[in-house]
């Protein structure tokens, strides 16, 4: 049985937020996309038949909604941002230098993910959200072996970009 909508959204908020950030660089647009995704998930939950896990179902809805959003908005980064964010990095006790390095790496990772094609982006983000090859294949409508090939190639490229300090 599906939990209460608000509780469910609260639980998947971080995952949905990360999906939104893989499509939009600007914080304001991320917030807008997150709202759209959450709304789409809300609408879709009543049709959930239990064919897959709730997580897989939500991820699929989120990506489908994000694809629509990107088609509507030009990807021009804006400098303004006003929305509320919570940062796991802020609470970290690491040195400022290590924290800055990690932030830079994360920035490069996000930038690289945003540059991927829709399918590759979807596969990579789902993998980083802990979905199995089988689940990813089901969401994307491709074979499990294909998921493996695409994921390995994409991760190699991402790793190179993340480690590139120039």
């Amino acid at each position: 049985m599906i939990q209460d909508f608000a509780t469910l959204l609260e639980e998947y908020n971080p995952l949905l937020s990360r999906i939104a950030s893989s499509y939009e660089a600007n914080t304001h647009l991320q917030q807008e996309l997150l709202q759209e995704i959450s709304l789409a998930v809300w609408q879709a939950l009543s049709r959930f038949k239990g064919d897959s896990s709730v997580k897989t179902y939500i991820v699929r809805i989120a990506h489908n909604r994000a694809v629509n959003h990107v088609a509507y908005h030009a990807k021009q980064p804006k400098s303004d941002s006003y929305c509320e964010v919570s940062s796991p990095l802020a609470s970290s006790t690491r040195s400022v230098e290590a924290s800055t390095q990690q932030k830079n790496q994360l920035e490069r990772l996000l930038q690289a993910v945003r540059e991927l094609s829709i399918q590759n982006k979807q596969i990579v983000t789902m993998s980083m959200e802990g979905l199995s090859y089988q689940e990813i294949a089901e969401v994307c409508g491709i074979s499990v072996s294909n998921v493996g090939v695409i994921l390995n190639r994409a991760k190699k490229t991402l790793m190179e970009k993340v480690q590139d300090d120039r």
């Binding site: 699929r60 990506h63 088609a71 929305c83 990095l89 980083m128 802990g130 409508g141 790793m159």
Partner: protein, 189 residues
């Protein structure tokens, strides 16, 4: 089959989290529901009103005027049916795999372009229909000359204002959907 010691995954999970606004979400949800009801009403209202209007006017107007109304209703129903046919993909399930979903969105954009084109070019078709209709009224001597002239003048005024607005609106929609289609196709590469 997932890799639990994936450095990319660890880095990915360190992202800042944007929080959604539940109050805003509830408001959006209600707005969407009202909009859906409104569009259904908008689609159905003319179709449902037509038989009643014809029935009402049957004994009130001249035979030729009534025939003209029937012709306009038939053309209107045909146009509505065409638009509903083009909109059919909107009602299909959106919870399929993303590759199928992308194809269906692209297809929907193409259909939206066609709907906007149909609306745009119907503005060209409307004046000849009115000319033929009033020409028929004139030839059949349906109305007195002054009354006919008044009707032509009022109809002409309404058309002169509404048709250019409809043309511009439809043209903008065509441009909007074309841009969205191009962006989507770029994303799909």
């Amino acid at each position: 089959m997932t890799d639990n010691n994936d450095p990319l995954r660890d880095l990915w999970q360190q992202q800042e989290v944007v929080k959604f606004d539940l109050a805003k979400l509830k408001k959006q949800w209600r707005k969407i529901r009202y909009k859906q009801y409104f569009y259904i009403l908008l689609d159905l209202a003319p179709v449902l009103a037509m038989p009643f209007l014809l029935w009402f006017f049957y004994s009130e107007v001249e035979r030729l005027v009534f025939i003209s109304l029937v012709v306009i209703c038939i053309i209107g129903t045909g146009f509505s049916a065409y638009v509903i046919w083009l909109r059919r993909f909107t009602f299909q399930a959106k919870f399929e795999s993303t590759s199928n979903y992308l194809t269906s969105i692209a297809r929907q954009y193409k259909q939206n372009i066609k709907i906007a084109q149909a609306a745009k070019y119907s503005t060209i078709a409307i004046p000849p229909i009115f000319i033929v209709m009033y020409g028929g009224f004139y030839l059949a001597d349906t109305f007195e000359w002054e009354r006919l002239l008044r009707k032509v003048l009022y109809s002409g005024l309404v058309l002169a204002i509404s048709l250019p607005i409809m043309w511009i609106w439809a043209s903008r929609r065509i441009d909007k959907f074309r841009t969205e289609l191009i962006k989507l196709e770029e994303q799909m590469k």
